[in-house]
């Protein structure tokens, strides 16, 4: 996927300078998180603020990992985001296929309903969900945040758009004529064709679930948190040691940053592909 410069000149020094500036702004807060996490809070309480690394990083990371429960939080978040990503991808792929290539009564209104609720703010369902989870005895448990996140109207729409383009109707017809039932068509025709989009959707869902904030903060407690809930607890706690808070922020961000660094091209490609289809 090399970018052909379509009649565009190659970048001049000004372009590089501008990009370097924006990149610096993008990376500085993250870098400074690490710097702040490597001092003690007394140092952070002095002016000028530290601009280079100190020696407290291991200690602060250890405190954040054990006392603030970032270790448990990370494990929980991987579980939650992984389940959400897989569940979303599966649900949305089959539903997207149905909307893209199958004819059935009510498909149009159902699709409209789906698209329409894409903009329902998460706040809207919070009160009833909270009460529902209490009634089911799920409040504070991971499934309380997993199950509601499996619904992604965006995902259905995304897969529908993708499959409308990538899966020729004739292919489905041919399989049908051969006598394949729906399940078989999905397994042998749809899933292979949808794979690239599934990867993109899975990735987007994973990142979104990892960073999901509102509902987990309401539904979970620091007792059994996701990373976001644990960080919120750190940030709003009664004994907030700023250096430890920064170490927690670092721990909570590092896994995704590493993934971005390792899979950079795939991820940027995925985001861009998601753009075109969304």
């Amino acid at each position: 996927m090399t970018t052909r410069a379509r009649g565009h000149s190659s970048a001049g020094p000004l372009t590089y300078a501008a990009l370097a500036l924006v990149t610096a702004v993008s990376l500085f807060p993250l870098l400074w998180t690490a710097v702040a996490a490597s001092h003690d809070s007394a140092r952070l309480a002095r002016t000028p603020p530290p601009l280079w690394f100190g020696g407290h990083l291991p200690h602060n990371l250890r405190v954040a990992w054990t006392d603030a429960g970032l270790g448990l939080a990370l494990a929980n978040t991987v579980l939650v985001a992984g389940t959400v990503a897989l569940g979303t991808v599966l649900c949305c792929t089959v539903a997207g296929f149905a909307f893209a290539r199958l004819r059935f009564r009510g498909s149009r209104p159902l699709l409209l309903l789906t698209v329409g609720t894409m903009m329902v703010p998460p706040q809207l369902g919070v009160v009833p969900l909270f009460l529902l989870m209490a009634r089911l005895g799920w409040a504070g448990e991971l499934r309380a945040v997993v199950l509601p996140a499996l619904v992604s109207a965006f995902g259905v729409f995304f897969m529908r758009q993708y499959l409308s383009g990538a899966l020729p109707a004739e292919l489905v017809e041919a399989a049908r004529v051969d006598g394949a039932h729906t399940g078989r068509v999905v397994w042998h025709v749809v899933l292979p064709a949808a794979r690239p989009a599934m990867v993109v959707l899975g990735m987007l869902s994973f990142v979104q679930s990892w960073n999901d904030f509102f509902w987990p903060v309401v539904a979970l407690t620091q007792e059994n948190p996701t990373v976001q809930v644990a960080l919120t607890g750190l940030g709003r706690g009664y004994v907030p040691d700023q250096a430890v808070v920064m170490a927690g922020a670092l721990l909570g961000t590092l896994p995704l940053l590493l993934a971005f660094a390792l899979l950079g091209r795939r991820i940027t490609g995925g985001v861009m592909q998601g753009a075109l289809k969304g």
Partner: protein
Amino acid sequence: MTATSPATPTTPAAPTTGTLPQDPPASRGARLHRWDVRWGPYALIAPFFLFFAVFTLLPLLYTGWASLHRIELTAPERAEWAGLHHYARLLRNPLFWNALRNTLVIGVLSTVPQLLTALALAHLLHSRLRAATFWRVALLTPYATSVAAATLVFSLLYGRDHGLVNWVLGALGAGPVDWQNGTWSARLAVSSIVVWRWTGYNALLYLAAMQAVPDELYESAELDGASRTRQFLHVTVPSLRPTILFTVVVSTIGALQLFGEPLLFGGAGGQKGGASHQFQTLGLFLYEQGWFTYHLGRACAVAWTMFLLLLLIATGHGLARRLLRKDG
């Protein structure tokens, strides 16, 4: 919408049809087949709509019902009919209008610079670049940073007494700013977190759309002697219109739901959005009404009001119609 069409994997799927095992042809099979054609699609959408019904639709309806009742968190099983009381009370509540105003102000402060910068960045990225992937990944890293982590760092940077931003301002000869307590400074600070997190992401969206613009458009523009700036304004931007519209809508929705950034920026009493609620958004207002003053019914009314506002905005954008027109 087909920038990657040569790369889309329609081809690898084709041969697999040959490997499909055959069903035994029989009249029973034909009946089954008809039954499958009729009901198969519903089976496929069932998992989605099951979750959708339980976790989106029902809560939506329940919230509407609850917004017409007096329900307190202290005894949430008791609901007492209240009619439109909560809505009428909201319209008279200065704190609600304040939250609405803040949401709009912070929305504009965060969306406009974000999208303009993203557009310019995409333009830069669209030239022939060394290490193109590096720049893209670097610009996307804020997107990988969570709301919580980003906000915690920024609120330390914006600290009044020992923050880095004030230290830099001091070095430049400007007085220290009490970022959290000032009205506009707090809104700016919150907006800056949103801008920081989303600019790179939007830039990549624009870049993808730019790459999809047919070469011929640029070639003919070049033949007409248009400068690069003119090409940008008269070829690129018009071709990007659907993407721009999309990002505007998504950012607007995001802005209306803004919650985590102001909550954590506000520290321990974050749900108030500052001592004079100077950065309390609708999302925070809802949270405060429901979980800090225990008026669940009123919180539901806030939620529905937000929903209606979004519908209003979406209708304005004609979003649904536009998206659905993209049928192949």
